[in-house]
């Protein structure tokens, strides 16, 4: 019995070591930093609640939260609508199905930096591909990422293009779990395609929908690469996401303690949002 137990510990040890080094220790150390001022080099200085006091008075932190929420409000519905449409379309075709699935999934596996640099060329105001097309059509140029009002929606559009393939695959799996007999019975009863989609497909996809919403919310909260590469958080801080702000504080300005405080508070906010979201979706 004792021997079996020790074997159990031995077999679990790789995970335990991994968790201790990469999860428990960094978390504990971050919590320690919340109450210290540290530039990464000199000895940390205890500041008590100083970092948290600064945080509650920091307008850029609130601005970054609002920016991230703006991104989520645009990105998640777009993501769900397009992913569901693509999944339904891919589920119904038989010709080149594998090819189309691979094509939709391809942007997901391409590096975010590469995608962002490519979209930078599309969005460029004076010499971008989109504005060149618009001017050739006799239309005006659009300040995609140089207008404070349009920059975040433009980033949300790009992020949707990049990630939609992943959620399309999830919806496809959900669609394939719906018994064909249900659609068949509804069709015999005279239900139109739209009715079948709204009354059968959508309700039965609820577990997948919950998963997609929760995952895309968490991914959306971690928005970083796109504004970091494309806009640097501008124009006028309109694309300054919270993770980008935390990164700037921690790694550019050497305020690792303040960065840790921002990170902890932000994690709590994400937790609350996801819990509310789950509750709302499950009770709907």
């Amino acid at each position: 019995m004792l021997r079996a137990r020790s074997h159990g510990w031995l077999l679990s040890s790789p995970y335990l070591v991994y968790a201790a080094v990469f999860v428990v220790f960094p978390l504990a150390f971050s919590l320690y930093l919340v109450f210290h001022r540290w530039d990464g080099m000199a000895a940390p200085v205890f500041v008590g609640l100083g970092n948290l006091a600064r945080l509650v008075q920091d307008p850029l932190f609130y601005r970054s939260i609002l920016n991230t929420l703006e991104f989520l409000v645009i990105h998640i519905p777009l993501q769900i609508v397009f992913a569901l449409l693509f999944a339904v379309a891919l589920n119904s075709i038989t010709w080149l199905r594998g090819f189309f699935r691979a094509v939709y999934f391809m942007p997901v596996v391409v590096s975010g930096v590469v995608v962002t640099i490519l979209w930078q060329q599309l969005y460029s105001y004076d010499n971008g591909v989109l504005n060149t097309i618009l001017t050739h059509l006799g239309l005006g140029r659009v300040p995609w990422v140089t207008s404070p009002a349009l920059a975040m929606p433009s980033i949300a559009l790009m992020a949707t293009w990049k990630n939609v393939g992943l959620y399309t695959v999830m919806f496809l799996v959900g669609l394939q779990d719906i018994p064909a007999e249900m659609h068949e019975a509804a069709r015999i009863d005279g239900a139109t395609a739209v009715k079948r989609f709204l009354r059968i497909t959508v309700p039965l996809l609820r577990p997948t929908m919950t998963l997609v919403v929760v995952l895309s919310t968490i991914n959306g909260f971690s928005l970083f690469v796109e504004p970091y590469v494309m806009t640097g958080g501008g124009p006028l801080n309109s694309t300054l996401s919270t993770v980008l702000y935390i990164y700037n504080q921690g790694f550019y300005f050497g305020h690792l303690g303040y960065g840790a405080a921002l990170g902890f508070v932000f994690a709590l906010i994400i937790l609350v949002v996801v819990l509310i979201q789950r509750k709302a979706l499950e009770s709907a």
């Binding site: 080094v21 220790f25 960094p26 150390f29 320690y32 540290w38 530039d39 990464g40 080099m41 000199a42 000895a43 940390p44 600064r54 640099i117 930078q120 060329q121 460029s124 105001y125 004076d126 010499n127 971008g128 060149t132 001017t135 140029r141 300040p143 140089t146 404070p148 806009t231 640097g232 958080g233 501008g234 124009p235 006028l236 801080n237 700037n248 790694f251 550019y252 300005f253 050497g254």
Partner: protein, 436 residues
């Protein structure tokens, strides 16, 4: 120096996991100890070639003090590498690619050797620069932790062909002249209704170091000896700040500068008529576009009322000795070798970069080089009065604030130049107060 065991442990562990923090500090030979120094150089191709040559020569001349050269580990910036190395205690003995603005942070962390402890420090520095110039590199505690090695003074390059086509005989010297010329040099060449040629171009993203090459260059040119921050207080000249913000606001408001991000150099492509550049641009043009671009180099523009000497931002790089060195005296000897007259000549010849020497323009050793490279003589002349960022540990945050205000006022016209200048001084004051 006392460091927290937890912090050190996690960083050391990370370094070990990443696969490399073994140190080979010194070895004992049969006939007496051989000291081994580690020297980190930039990853720039020409600087690696220069360092390889100089280290090879040193090692031949000094069998008892051997130097092992390494390129700076790959990372986004030198500063990130150094911070990680300081935390993990894996800094080299010497590094030659240090941005002066980061030195106060390293010094505050006790990571650097105080160089003015060496008896011949003063004589070495006096041979290289004036007392006034050296003062800009002295830390707030009155000590010197860096030797200014090289400088890339920022000047204005202009496309002579575009100026000639626009009927402009001479490049602009003042803001008014610049803006007047800009009206003639910003145009739609192919008449498709879209402007495709501009007077200039600046990256409009709020990236702190981008402001070295627009706001700060023009501030240095117009503010004389008045730094942004000195001895823990805000010393920036609000009038000059407002003039510089206002100048760039005119450029963006009138469309003389595009609000875009080019993936190519628009000056080299012939799309912009002027650019604020360091000597690296000249080397790049000579190497890749020799004879294809008709360009001239002049000092950056100044306010119309300015009457002082020509100055600019110097974009210096320094050498330091890290306090982890077990052989600081030997490291100091090697550092002196890296900045001797001959090594400085090789810096010019191999890397086309300007060594920090007060006699650089007229010393016989460099005359033939400058005769063959008259463009670089212009940069060398500017080097004598070029200024550096301050010696505050908050330089990056200060420049981030400059970037924010620049964006608000100059790029997006959300505040007047005077409001922007007042906001800048106030925000910098808040940063200094918080970080104190």
């Amino acid at each position: 120096m006392c460091r927290p065991s937890t912090a050190t442990a996690v960083l050391l562990l990370s370094a070990l996991l990443a696969g490399g923090c073994s140190r080979n500090r010194s070895a004992s030979g049969g006939g007496g100890a051989v000291v081994t120094l580690t020297y980190w150089t930039s990853t720039n191709r020409q600087e690696v070639a220069l360092a390889t040559e100089l280290v090879g020569k040193w090692n031949r001349l000094h069998p008892k003090i051997q130097v092992r050269m390494q390129q700076l580990p790959v990372n986004q910036s030198t500063e990130e590498v150094i911070v990680a190395a300081v935390s993990a205690g894996t800094t080299p003995d010497i590094c030659s690619n240090i941005w002066p603005g980061s030195v106060p942070e390293y010094a505050r962390a006790g990571a650097l050797v105080r160089l003015n402890q060496f008896a011949d420090f003063d004589s070495l520095v006096r041979a290289r620069m004036s007392e006034a110039a050296m003062a800009g590199f002295r830390s707030e505690d009155g000590n010197s932790y860096q030797i200014p090695w090289k400088t890339n003074p920022v000047m204005m390059i202009y496309n002579r062909q575009l100026f000639r086509r626009a009927g402009i005989a001479n490049p602009p010297r003042t803001y008014s002249e610049y803006l007047a010329d800009a009206g003639r040099l910003t145009f739609d060449e192919n008449h498709d209704g879209v402007v495709d040629h501009w007077m200039g171009y600046r990256d409009v993203r709020p990236i702190w170091w981008q402001r070295f090459f627009d706001f700060y260059t023009l501030y240095c040119a117009a503010a004389g000896d008045r730094p942004i921050v000195e001895k823990g207080g805000v010393t920036a000249d609000p009038q000059v700040c407002a003039e510089v913000f206002g100048f760039f606001a005119e450029c963006f408001r009138n469309g003389f500068y595009p609000k875009t991000f080019f993936q190519f150099d628009p000056f080299i492509a012939g799309n912009v008529a002027t650019e604020f550049v360091g000597p690296w641009t000249i080397s790049y043009i000579k190497e890749n576009y020799a004879g294809q671009i008709d360009y001239g180099i002049v000092p950056v523009p100044v306010p119309d009322s300015y009457r002082g000497p020509e100055s600019t931002y110097g974009d210096h790089k320094c050498m330091v000795i890290f306090s982890t060195s077990r052989h600081p005296a030997e490291a100091w000897e090697f550092l002196k070798f890296l900045v001797n007259e001959e090594a400085d000549l090789r810096l010019l010849q191999v890397a086309s970069q300007i060594p920090v020497r007060r006699d650089i323009v007229w010393a016989p050793s460099y005359r033939s080089f400058f005769d063959a490279n008259p463009d670089l003589r212009l940069f060398a002349s500017q080097a004598l009065t070029a200024r550096e960022v301050g010696q505050s540990p908050d330089e990056k945050e200060i420049f981030d604030t400059i970037s924010q205000v620049f964006e608000e006022c100059s790029v997006y016209n959300r505040s007047t130049p005077n409001e922007a200048a007042a906001a800048l001084l106030k925000r910098i004051g808040a940063i200094l107060a918080w970080n104190r």
